[in-house]
C-alpha cells in the first residue's frame, strides 16, 4: 500500500525531527514552569516573539546563534513579566498568560511592521544548514533520517537530557519539583519558593522563545505573524500528555510531529479524494486521543496554579 510506504522513506523521519524541534523546546519550557507550579499560557506569544526577534537579529546582520541568544533573552524577559504578575502578586495564571500571549504577539507584529513597513513578500535570511554527523550520517536510511539535522535540533535533544537530569538529579531540580508540589514545604526548609518560581518561569520562557526562533532560523527562513499557528497550545497539551516528565515530552513531540509529517505526505498519495483540511486535522485529533489515553493517571503537580503567599495556608 502506498499510504504505508511513506513510513519507509527517510525524508519522513528526517521531517519528523525537524517538525518536532520547536515543540520540544516549547514543551520543555512549559514543563519547567509547571513543575514549579505556574502555568504559562504566554507560550504562544513568547514563541511568536522568539521567531521574530531571532529572524530580525539575523536579518540585521547578526550571526544565527546570536539570533537564538537574543530570542532566548527576550523570551526570558517576557517570562519575568509573567512571573512578577503571577508569583509575588499572585494574579490568575490563566488570565495573565493569555494577556502575555496577546501582548507579545501584538508587540512582535508591531515591531516587525515598524522595521519593515512595506514588503509584499516577507524577506528571507540564510538559515541553519543541515549538519551531517560524521560517521553516523553515513549509515544508510538512519543517517539521512536522523543524523543530518540542523544544529538547533541536536540542541533540542540535548536540552531534553539536560532538563531530565536537572529535575531528577540535582538539588535545584528537587527544589523546583517541590515548589510545584508544596511551596510551604520549601519555605519550611529554609528555601525561598518565590525566587525558585520566578527563576523557573524565566528559564522556561527562554526555551519557549528558542522554539519559536527555530521556525524562522531553520524552517521557514522568513517571519510572518501567524507562523506559530497554535504550536504553543500544542506544547501545553503535550506537557499533560507527558505527565510532566521530560522524556515523555520528547516522545509526545515526536509523535505529534510524526502525525503532522505523515499527513503532509499522505495528501499527495491520496490526492483529491479527500479534502486536505481533513488531513490537517489529523495530528490534532490524534493528539486528543493520545492525551485521553496517556494522561488519565498523570501525577499533576499539586500546587500547580495555586499562588503562594507566605504565612498563608
Amino acid at each position: 500500500m502506498e499510504a504505508l510506504d511513506i513510513f519507509a522513506t527517510a525524508s519522513l523521519w528526517s521531517a519528523v525531527l525537524r517538525i518536532a524541534t520547536p515543540l520540544i523546546f516549547g514543551t520543555l519550557g512549559a514543563l519547567i514552569c509547571e513543575r514549579a507550579g505556574v502555568l504559562n499560557l504566554g507560550i504562544e506569544g513568547i514563541m511568536t516573539l522568539g521567531a521574530m526577534v531571532a529572524w530580525m537579529t539575523v536579518y540585521q546582520g547578526g550571526n544565527l546563534w546570536i539570533g537564538l541568544l537574543v530570542a532566548a533573552l527576550c523570551g526570558g524577559l517576557f517570562g519575568l513579566l509573567h512571573a512578577l504578575l503571577t508569583v509575588p502578586l499572585g494574579l490568575s495564571q490563566h488570565v495573565t498568560g493569555l494577556g502575555i500571549t496577546l501582548f507579545a504577539s501584538s508587540l512582535t507584529y508591531y515591531v516587525y511592521r515598524l522595521s519593515l513597513p512595506v514588503t509584499s513578500s516577507p524577506p528571507t535570511i540564510e538559515p541553519f544548514q543541515p549538519l551531517a554527523i560524521p560517521g553516523l550520517s553515513d549509515i544508510p536510511f538512519f543517517g539521512e533520517a536522523f543524523f543530518t539535522q540542523t544544529a538547533p535540533t541536536y540542541l533540542a535533544l540535548f536540552t531534553v537530557l539536560l532538563t531530565a537530569y536537572l529535575l531528577a538529579r540535582t538539588p535545584l531540580g528537587l527544589a523546583i519539583r517541590m515548589t510545584g508540589e508544596n511551596p510551604h514545604a520549601v519555605e519550611a526548609q529554609g528555601l525561598n519558593p518565590v525566587r525558585i518560581r520566578i527563576g523557573a518561569i524565566v528559564a522556561g520562557s527562554a526555551l519557549m522563545a528558542l522554539g519559536g526562533a527555530f521556525l524562522t532560523t531553520a524552517t521557514f527562513n522568513s517571519f510572518f505573524p501567524t507562523m506559530v499557528q497554535g504550536r504553543g497550545w500544542v506544547c501545553i497539551a503535550l506537557v499533560v500528555f507527558a505527565s510532566w516528565r521530560p522524556g515523555k515530552a520528547l516522545l509526545g513531540a515526536l509523535l505529534f510531529a510524526l502525525f503532522d509529517a505523515y499527513q503532509l505526505r499522505l495528501q499527495h498519495v491520496i490526492e483529491s479524494a479527500i479534502p486536505y483540511q481533513l488531513f490537517l486535522m489529523v495530528p490534532y485529533v490524534l493528539s486528543i486521543v493520545a492525551l485521553v489515553v496517556m494522561s488519565r493517571r498523570a501525577k499533576v503537580p499539586q500546587a500547580l496554579m495555586a499562588p503562594y503567599r507566605k504565612g498563608e495556608r
Binding site: 538539588p171 508540589e181 495556608r313
Partner: protein, 507 residues
Amino acid sequence: MNRETVLELAHISKHFGKLIANDDISLTLGKGELLALLGENGAGKTTLMNVLFGHYTADGGQVSAFGEILPPGKPRAAIEAGIGMVHQHFTLAGNLTVLDNVMIGTERLGLLRSGRKQAAAKLRGLSERFGLQVEPDAFVADLSVGEKQRVEILKALYRDARILILDEPTAVLTQIEAEQLFQTLRGMTDTGLSVIFISHKLAEVMAASDRVVILRGGRTVAEKRTSDTNRAELAELMVGRRVVRPVRTDQAPGRNILSASKVDIVEDGRKLLDGIDFTVRAGEILGIIGVSGNGQAALGQLTCGLRGADTGALVYDGNQANGFSPRMLVTSGTGRIPEDRNTEGAIAEMAIWENAVLERIHEKRFSAYGFVNRARCRDYATELIDRFDIRGAAPDTRTGLLSGGNMQKMILGRNLAASPKLIIANQPTRGLDEGAIAAVHAELLAARKDGAAILLISEDLDEVLALSDTIQAIFKGRLSAPLSAEDADSRTVGLMMAGIWEASHAA
C-alpha cells in the same frame, strides 16, 4: 534537677491587626526536656511557635537557642541553630518520595549532582536509631497519616535538630499511634534532644510531659511541673474557669427511630460495612466507638443519606429502605453533624446566615416564588447565634472566620433548632477545645432529654463513655453487640475497639 537551658523565648509579643496573639510571653526549655505547651484553640500556641521558627516576625521580644540570639523571620536561621518544626498541617509533597521530602533544602542549589545515596543511608540510620520506620523510596501520598508524621520528624532529625517542636502532633493520630509517638519522643529526650509539643488534650499532657506551660488569651497563665499538678487544675488554668463536662441522667428510651439490619456496603470488592445491626431509640444515645478508618466514614454516609446499603435494610421511623435521600432526611426531621465540618458541614466562603438556612432554604419562611427572604434568614441566624452562644459571629460574618468550636456550634444549632427526632453526630468534638466540648455535650444531652434519638460516632473513649446509653464498637466494618452503659468501663470498651468483643463479654 537543673537542666542546661537550650532555648529561651523572652518577652515575645505578636499581634495580627487588632488581635493580640502573643502578649509578652517568655519561656525556657531545658536539655532533654519534654515540655508541653497547653492552651485552648486561639490561645496563641501556634503563633508563638511560628515566631520561634521564623515563619512570623515578632513585634517584640527575642528568641535565643544555645545562647545565640536568632535573627527574626528567618526559618533558615532557626534550622541552622538546630531547631526542627513539625507543623500540624504537614508540609510534605505527596507526589515525591520520602527521600525527596527529607532532602529538600539540605544541599546547595548550585550542586551539579545531589548525593542521594549518602542521604538515603543517613535517613535509614536515623530511622533505625529512633525507631521511626519509613521506606525512603516510597511516595508520600501512599503513606498513612502516622507515617507522614514520621517523615516530618525525620526531616527535622536529618537536619541535626537538637530542639524539636511539634504543633498538635496527635490531632490526626489514632490513640495507638499517639502512644507510639510519645514513646518515640521520650526516646529522643533520653538521648539529649529537647522537645516542645503543643496540645489542648489534658490526658496526653499529663501522661507524656515533664513540664507544662499554660497559655490563655495570648498570655502565659501558669507553668507547672507535670508531677505537681493534675488534670482538673490544668483544665481550670487552660479555660480560665471551672469546666465541668455535663453528666448524663438516666431516662427510659422510647420507640425505635432508626435501625439497621445486616447492612453491607461494598466498594471495589472490599466490605466497608460488614453485616451491621443497630437500633437507636427516642431519648437514647447510641455510641459507636472505634479507631478511625474502621468503617465510620461509610456508616456516616449511610445514615446521612449519601449512599445506600448494598444489602440489608434500614428502618427509619417505620419506613424501610436500603437508603434515604438527604432531602427526605431533612424534611422528616434529621439533624446531621458531619465528620469534617470544614468540607461537609459548612461552606467557609459563605456568610453565617447562608449556612444557617442551607438545608431549609426551601421552607416557606425563608424563600417564596424563587426569591430568598434575606431578612428572615438573618433573623434566624441571629436566633441561632444567641441561643447556641456562637462567639465572634454576626449573621453576615464569613463562616470561615469562626473558630472550630464556634463553627461546630453553628452546625449543631442549625440542626437542633428544629427539634429533630434523629441526630447523626459523626466525631462531633474532633479538634475542639475543652470549653467547646462541654458545650457540644450539653447540647446533645439536651436534645436527648427532648426525646431525640442520637447516633454518636466517635473515636474519643471518654466522650462515648460519658454520653452513651448503649455502646457498640466498630472494627474492620463490623459492629459489636450492644453493651449497655452500666456494663461499660474503659478497659472493656478499649478491648472492643481492638475487635476483641467476644472476650470482653466473658470478662
